[in-house]
Structure formats: structure tokens, C-alpha cells
Amino acid sequence: MLTRRIIPCLDVKDGRVVKGVRFANLADSGDPAELARRYMDEGADELVFLDISASHEGRGTMRTWVRSVADELSIPFTVGGGISSLSQARGIIALGADKISVNTAAVRNPRLIAECAGLLGNQAVVLAVDAKRNDSGGYEVFTEGGRTPSGRDAIEWIREGVRLGCGEILLTSMDRDGTKSGYDLECLSLVSRSVDIPIIASGGAGSVRDLFAAFEAGADAVLAASIFHTGTHTVGDVKEALAALGIPVRKTR
């Protein structure tokens, strides 16, 4: 039986992991490879890295840290943030990442999804969608890290992404992101009923109950940042609690 995945997410800026990091005895608390290793040892099923560098120079550090992470990990990882061309996507996969995620650039140029899927396979292409609830009861896609409304309906966009060949959806609720008040279950279940590819829920995780609810609403994997980074929970504890609630997880201890 396929298990449900727990995916810690790390934001990387100028080659350094940003946002609170709880591990004790780290030689270098901002080193992506060292943190990746810790999460893997704790039982993470895979990892997502989002490069949030604002500058060209900052993003230029990707070559170095993606390779170090690949050398360190024996679980899969995804790299996203600012990927806007096929050659960039290809470069990141060649450095050892297993998947790339595209967001803003795909909204601007949907063909990017088809190009990446054609060269790298559907399984390597994650479509990241930042969705925000609108007044008419639907969800709108935002781009540029959630700053810019695109005018596109999230469900329609996700369906188009699937047609173009993405292999997974990373669905972030803009309304819930950073609130720790739980995932947007309504949105999650809507998307889950609309497409037949795996969905990674993101935005709003504050407790094990929230992760459980996301799986119940149709998520195949859950992404979480703060609950792991701040030390509220370890990945291992979360998996044990979910297993006790009847969710199939891969146990590593």
C-alpha cells in the first residue's frame, strides 16, 4: 500500500536556509545539506527546497547547494523558486534533484510545463499553485510568491496543468499560509476531486490533527515548515501519531 508522505519544506535565500531552525548541535544552522540530512534521519519521506533569493547573484548559489543536498540525501527532493526555463529545470535535475516545481513562470508561459514533462517525464514536474479564496466562492491563482493576482481560477489552472503534463500539484492556501490554523480543507477536497494526480497540501499546518485532516480531505502528501522548524514536532513523532490515527505512513524507527 502506498503510504502518505510527510514533506518538510526549507526556504533557501542566497544559499542559506532561512526561518527558525531548531536542531541542536548544528555545525552550521543555515546549511541546506546539513538540515536536509537531519530531516532525512528523522524520517522525512522527501524534502522540498524553495529558493526565495531576490537577486540573480543569490539564485546563482543554487548550483552549489543543490549538489551538496543531492550528495547528502538518499531520499528524493524537489527544488523550486524562480525556475523559468527548460534549461534551468534541466540543470537542476542534472545536479541531482529528483523533481522541479514551477509556479509563476508556468502561469506566464504554460508551455513550460509541457516542455519540462516532455524532457524530464511527468513524475519530475510539480506544479506549485498559490490559491487565495475570492468573493465568489472560488479560488484565484497568485504568482510571484503570492504578491500578484493572476486573474486565473485555481481549479481551471490546475486542470490545464495536468493536461500539459505536470505529475503532482503542490497546493498552497494563501489564506492559511503561516497561520497554523489548519490547511484549507475545502480547497484541498475541491482540487482532489478535480484531478487524478497526487496532491501535496501546503499552508496552515499547526498540529498533527491538521495533517490528519488534510489526508482525510484527499491529500497524498503534506508539506509543513513551521511545525518542524520550530521544534513543536519531530517528523518521527508526527508519523507515529498519524499511524495511530490510521493513516498509512512509512515508519523508519
Partner: protein, 207 residues
């Protein structure tokens, strides 16, 4: 022991190399057919679609040479994920494309009526034969899959391992004499992945 990984310039060849180096094998990424000769074991890894991979290997003149090495010289070969699928007679991804046919059978889309496709994540793998040497020392039995197409061999005896997905049983491993294929990614499956990789390598070379 010398291991040659056929480098497609893409994908997981680097991870496979590091995983094997963990066991101190002499591993090389090779780009040309001349480099095949000195190797005790060949590994086909890589990502992309069935058709693109076949076209690339043909363009680089590797297709026929690998076929000769495996069929005429009986060189041991391990295929991982797409590498395993290319061992089939044909695949339907991006249009009907002929494979090597080392393990007769077809590679077709996983039907998505009951399950999500691609099949992505950690799934439990069961060996067909109890006490299969490839599975010696395996603890959790979970391995990482990411594929939208699956291999259906003509001869069920070529299936060495399976995994359950929805109400389907997917082929997770195949073997025909000197040819072994794994659908999952041992190089991305933590401790158990490393163990099975070593078992397969030792098993193939010391046959």
C-alpha cells in the same frame, strides 16, 4: 569490481553513483560505447520518457552496443525505473516505441480509474520468492516509486517483486538471466535502498 553507469546527462545517475560508492565499488559514468568494455556490470538509470530515452541512446550509438554487450557477451545489467522499462519489447509513452526486448513484455500507462497516476511515493515491495537473496537484510520493505507507466512482462517467471497500488499489483522488479530491472529508485530509498542495490550488484556479478 567495475561498474559503468550509462550517463544520459540528466537525472539520477549521480545519485546512483554515490550510492554505489558507499560500498566502495569502482563506479564510472560513461558516455561512449568504448567505455562499456572494461565494466563488470552496466547500469541504466536516467529519467524522461521512453521515446526520448530510446532516441537519445540511438543517437549516441549506444543502443546497439549495449544490446550486443547484454545479449552476445552476457554482461550483467541493472536497469532502474526508466532503465528497467527500456528492457521491455515496447513502450507506449509518447507513441509506440521499440525497446531492447531483453525481458519480453510491454510498458503501458497505469490505469487511473481507481488510483492517482503517476504512482509517486513510498510503497511496500514484496519479493515473489521467499528468501530472495536480493532482499536479504531488508528492514522496512518500503521503496520510493515515481512512474506513470508500468511494465507487464509476458512471462510471469520474470517478475521477482511486486507492489500493491489500489487494487492492482504492479511489477516492482524483473529478472531474466543477466538482466535485472527495478521499478523503484533504490538510490532514493534510504537504508533499504542501499542494501538492495548492493545485493543486486553482488548477485548479478557473482552469478
Amino acid at each position: 569490481m567495475r561498474i559503468a553507469i550509462i550517463d544520459d546527462g540528466l537525472g539520477n545517475t549521480g545519485s546512483v553513483k554515490s550510492a554505489l560508492e558507499f560500498y566502495r565499488y569502482d563506479v564510472r559514468l560513461i558516455h561512449e560505447y568504448a567505455d562499456i568494455d572494461g565494466a563488470d556490470l552496466l547500469i541504466l538509470a536516467g529519467v524522461g520518457s521512453f521515446r526520448t530515452a530510446v532516441e537519445q541512446l540511438r543517437k549516441r550509438m549506444l543502443w546497439k552496443h549495449l544490446d550486443n554487450a547484454v545479449c552476445l557477451e552476457h554482461k550483467p545489467v541493472l536497469g532502474i525505473c526508466l532503465g528497467m522499462q527500456l528492457m521491455a519489447s515496447w513502450g507506449e509513452e509518447d507513441g509506440h516505441t521499440q525497446g531492447w526486448g531483453w525481458i519480453p513484455g510491454k510498458v503501458v500507462r497505469i490505469p487511473d480509474t481507481m488510483v492517482k497516476v503517476p504512482h509517486i511515493g513510498w510503497n511496500r515491495v514484496s519479493p515473489v520468492t521467499k528468501n530472495d537473496v536480493y532482499f536479504r537484510g531488508i528492514r522496512s520493505g518500503f521503496f520510493y516509486f515515481m512512474h506513470g507507466y508500468h511494465f507487464i512482462p509476458e512471462n510471469p517467471d520474470h517478475v521477482i517483486a511486486t507492489t500493491g497500488y489500489g487494487d492492482m499489483t504492479l511489477v516492482a522488479g524483473v529478472r531474466n538471466k543477466n538482466v535485472v530491472g527495478l521499478q523503484f529508485h533504490p538510490e532514493k530509498s534510504q537504508g533499504d535502498g542501499l542494501r538492495i542495490l548492493r545485493n543486486v550488484v553482488e548477485g548479478l556479478v557473482c552469478r
